[in-house]
């Protein structure tokens, strides 16, 4: 108010100059920031964009230039790549991946929910030590248990089946998910559960009808991450699956590099595109859950 009537003193003018300077600095820093982000973003995503473009190129064009648009688009790479050098098509390998993923995801969701419920809502002897073991398993490098696990699965006669890939996960073996769900569950209020208990619900009913619906978003994150990781998993199938007819896509892709004569890159790139498509589709359909899941995992609780 007083400003309007006040004469412009020297101090005020320098204030304005400072404000103008600040505005200019802000503009410059915004320009710098945006160009950095666009530059980095371009570098990050160009290989992927190029991959999609190149999968429609002929084999000779792939090495001819850095542009991503094919001159004369062809689906030859897809057609030939899909056939593979085995008696099976890539369809079979996708089906195998699906057969590995579905039971694994369901088993993970059920077992991790139960375990997280135990840790977040019950008091029992040795609870602290047992929760400590979750963290220990989370940090324990798989490399140290892999060999005895292999021997165990061999003795059980489970080699070359999907059981070694399913069973550990169905027994809440992926500690990351247990940890994530416990963190999430601890942040939820318990009054609904109290109310259900007063109404005579037992703990299992409370879990199914009250806790699971509240856990919804976190459970979706768990399923999505498990889907993604299993789709990408290579070492597990590499060790346990030996017959080509049971290969998931990750192994099939590796096989196609090994067996394709003189590297028919267009076939391999075309199959690479197909391999990453399910993960990309799921990610874009549900990216909110990924971002929330990963952020929640990093939060210290």
């Amino acid at each position: 108010m007083a400003d309007i009537t006040m004469p412009k003193t020297a101090a005020r003018i320098s204030d304005e100059a400072a404000a103008a300077k600040r505005a200019r600095m802000d503009l410059i820093s915004a320009v710098v920031r945006y160009s950095l982000l666009f530059g980095v973003g371009f570098l990050m995503l160009y290989p992927l964009i190029w991959l999609v473009g190149a999968s429609f190129k002929t084999n000779s064009e792939i090495f001819a230039g850095a542009g991503f648009l094919p001159e004369s688009p062809t689906v030859e790479g897809y057609v030939q790549g899909w056939q593979t050098s085995t008696p099976y098509t890539f369809g079979r390998f996708f089906w195998n991946s699906f057969l590995i993923i579905l039971p694994k995801v369901i088993g993970t969701a059920i077992s991790c929910t139960m375990v997280a419920y135990a840790f977040a809502r019950f008091e029992f002897p040795l609870k602290k030590i047992l929760f400590g073991s979750v963290i220990a398993v989370l940090l324990l490098p798989n490399v140290v248990t892999r060999i005895p696990q292999y021997i165990l699965f061999r003795d059980l006669g489970w080699l070359d089946s999907f059981l070694p890939l399913w069973v550990p996960s169905a027994l809440a073996g992926d500690a990351f998910f247990v940890f994530m769900l416990v963190q999430f569950l601890r942040s939820l209020p318990t009054d609904m559960e109290e109310a259900a208990r007063v109404d005579g619900a037992n703990s299992l009913q409370t879990l199914i009808f009250i806790v699971v619906p509240m856990l919804g978003p976190a459970l979706v994150s768990v399923c999505l991450f498990q889907f993604m990781w299993t789709m990408n998993d290579f070492l597990g199938p590499l060790i346990y699956i030996s017959s080509v007819d049971k290969y998931p896509v990750s192994l099939a892709l590796k096989l196609s590099i090994d067996t394709t004569e003189a590297f028919e890159w267009n076939r391999i790139l075309a199959m690479s595109v197909l391999t990453i498509t399910p993960a990309l589709v799921v990610f874009f359909a549900a990216q909110r859950y990924f971002i929330e899941g990963i952020s929640a995992g990093g939060r210290k609780g």
Binding site: G41, A118, L139, P141, N142, R154, N232, I294
Partner: protein, 293 residues
């Protein structure tokens, strides 16, 4: 909370079974196997410390593999985290399209572990691949990525740095939860943006930096897909990381005892570094808080 003291155990059952059968027993078994010679055919033969003796005194491949692994981890993890933090700090300003960028930067993390991306990498850095085309376009000589021992490891480091997105998302979430009044206070005290970042933001981020550091380190020590697909451990074993060595000893040559010994050395290194990180974390978090007051 509940009256029944043991009801919790009912829900814990799957975890307990899994913990014993798939973690605890294998963990101890692998320690036992590391003192034996075992080829899966006959039963394990106790050989005492001879596996370890061979590892540390006579195994050139192990020396090479260990060196390469340490170089890989200590270059990849800091690079990746610094980059993730840098981009997260930029994204933390009030920018338009922040969600767009966050998504774009996260996509490589979603796909990075996939064999398809390792295959793509193998093409990108091949002699006539996209990277050399781009280098050529700005007038530089093409680089021999897979023929030169130093470059080959670097391509794998680059692949993992490319996946900085998940670390970045964690940093960004932490940055967004910092109380804005702290920045105002710093600004009133005359602190510039850089000073504010190093003396206000960074200390407050130490818990997530620590979390990312430990997780990324444990992961980096177990890198397998990259060297297996992209470089096959070569050239001259310059990308022959320990997990690759363990895999070949165990599942190609079926030297289960020797492979277990290597795995235990790798485990010991990871464990010692994790303990150092935990132990030192108390210091740097406390130190930061002390310095601010």
């Amino acid at each position: 909370m509940r009256s029944q003291r043991f009801l919790g155990y009912a829900y814990l059952t799957p975890y307990l079974i899994g913990l014993v059968i798939f973690t605890a027993i294998p963990f101890l078994t692998s320690l036992y196997l590391s003192f034996t010679s075992y080829d899966l055919m006959s039963s394990p033969q106790w050989t005492g410390l001879s596996n370890y003796e061979r590892l540390f005194t006579r195994d050139r491949t192990f020396d090479k593999s260990l060196t390469v692994t340490l170089i890989y981890v200590f270059s990849t993890v800091p690079l990746k985290l610094a980059f993730a933090l840098f981009i997260a700090a930029i994204l933390n300003y009030k920018l338009k399209f922040i969600n767009f960028f966050r998504t774009a930067f996260y996509v490589p993390s979603i796909l990075g572990g996939s064999i398809a991306i390792a295959v793509l990498w193998r093409y990108l850095f091949s002699a006539e691949g996209l990277v050399n085309m781009a280098i050529g376009a700005v007038g530089f000589a093409p680089v021999d990525w897979f023929g030169d021992p130093t470059n080959a490891l670097f391509t794998i480091t680059l692949l993992r740095c490319w996946q900085f997105g998940s670390a970045m998302v964690i940093f960004l979430a932490a940055l967004q939860s910092i109380d804005k009044s702290l920045y105002e206070a710093a600004s009133i005290d005359g602190a510039g943006k850089v000073t504010t970042f190093f003396f206000v933001t960074l200390p407050l981020l130490t818990p997530v930096i620590f979390f990312n550091l430990v997780m990324q380190m444990v992961q980096a020590f177990q890198e397998f897909n990259g060297p297996y697909i992209i470089t096959q451990g070569g050239p001259l074993k310059s990308t022959y990381l320990l997990p690759l060595y363990i895999y070949e000893e165990a599942f190609k040559k079926f030297n289960m005892g020797y492979a277990s010994a290597i795995a235990w050395v790798l485990f010991a290194i990871i464990m010692i570094l994790t303990i150092v990180a935990f132990w030192s974390s108390k210091k740097w978090v406390y130190y930061a808080g002390d310095k601010r007051s």
